[in-house]
Symmetry: C2
Subunit: 231 residues, 2 copies
Amino acid sequence: TIVRVLEEQESKEQPLVGKHVLITAGPTQESVDPVRFFTNHSSGKMGYAIARQAADLGASVTLVSGPVSLDTPPGVKRIDVVSAEDMYEAVLNEMESADVIIKAAAVADYRPKETYSSKMKKQEGPLTLQFERTKDILKEVGKRRREGQFIVGFAAETDEPVRYGQEKMERKRLDAIVVNDISAEGAGFKGDTNVVTYLNRNGKQEAYPLLTKDDVARRLLLSIATDLKGE
Amino acid sequence: TIVRVLEEQESKEQPLVGKHVLITAGPTQESVDPVRFFTNHSSGKMGYAIARQAADLGASVTLVSGPVSLDTPPGVKRIDVVSAEDMYEAVLNEMESADVIIKAAAVADYRPKETYSSKMKKQEGPLTLQFERTKDILKEVGKRRREGQFIVGFAAETDEPVRYGQEKMERKRLDAIVVNDISAEGAGFKGDTNVVTYLNRNGKQEAYPLLTKDDVARRLLLSIATDLKGE
């Protein structure tokens, strides 16, 4: 009936209608040669869950994704990248129109100083590789942010995640940060659940229970929507 | 009809009935810390195709697999490993009963000298990492081989693959080697096709055309079955 349809529409919160949400997800790969590379255990599941839920909450969503084996959520614009350098370029290209930027990707901090175009031959004995820092995407986003943009970082840590997260939020001038202790039961990169704490710059600290990544994503986005309105 | 069933059975070659084939597949991951690791672009598709076709050709198949996102082929016993060290242990444990050993895995040659149990913190400026050689699985398999075992290596190269493959076959005392030029069109790690050359120690050199990995696998196994009978 018409009444039922209206009730259902009403019960479906869509607090992100009219908002453009830019999300990064997955790992990056930093090549040593055409065969070997340096990467991390990010599966992309957390970032993809945020993209899916943001679209469901009415946002227009752009997802900048490192190499993962996940399907693009319905209605999401996906841009594939490989290296930290690629991700840096893509985020800076896309950030202008974004109202919310959520950096869930696990971008490599270091990359090999030299990349060989042919496969490196093995040699006897040990090998020393030089690494250099990759560009700091969040820092650059913080510099270029315009009035009204809301920037959310992630901190996946094994030691004192909340303390480290607060420090990172200040250092990078974020509006909020999501910290997780990847050594905790049910948390971390590969599983379908996560245990996170949402911190914002006004001192809010919300520790979520163990939830599926989709439920974590939904709660995060509702917290972000509340914080957006509060500004 | 009965005649048709018999014809079909006859037309289905099963030259590997009664043979135990041990196959390695996929990359290995070598940890720097709980988050970061060193790996390579092997998808495991070639090794999995060999496992699937070997089972189809009647063999009893054991597949020692690095981290990949592929389903275990029907009837195949799969043993999952992460690092080169794990793969070394698994292959040595399993090799005794194998008639044919096919090393399709892209095992890391190097691993970080130190593995940190907590996530390494970023620091300013460059980073130097020390790497050490991993154990040479093929070399150890060559040492421990027993009479009648047939050992097949792979060489994925970007430069002069056939010349390098012949040299590797001799150095590691292999019965045969499959070489592919991963820089060639339609060859390499990620796709569903491959272009390979089969070399054996009697000087046979078979260059296959561009084929799906399943067709490459089937031809390889038929070549191996022929070489096995010839011994």
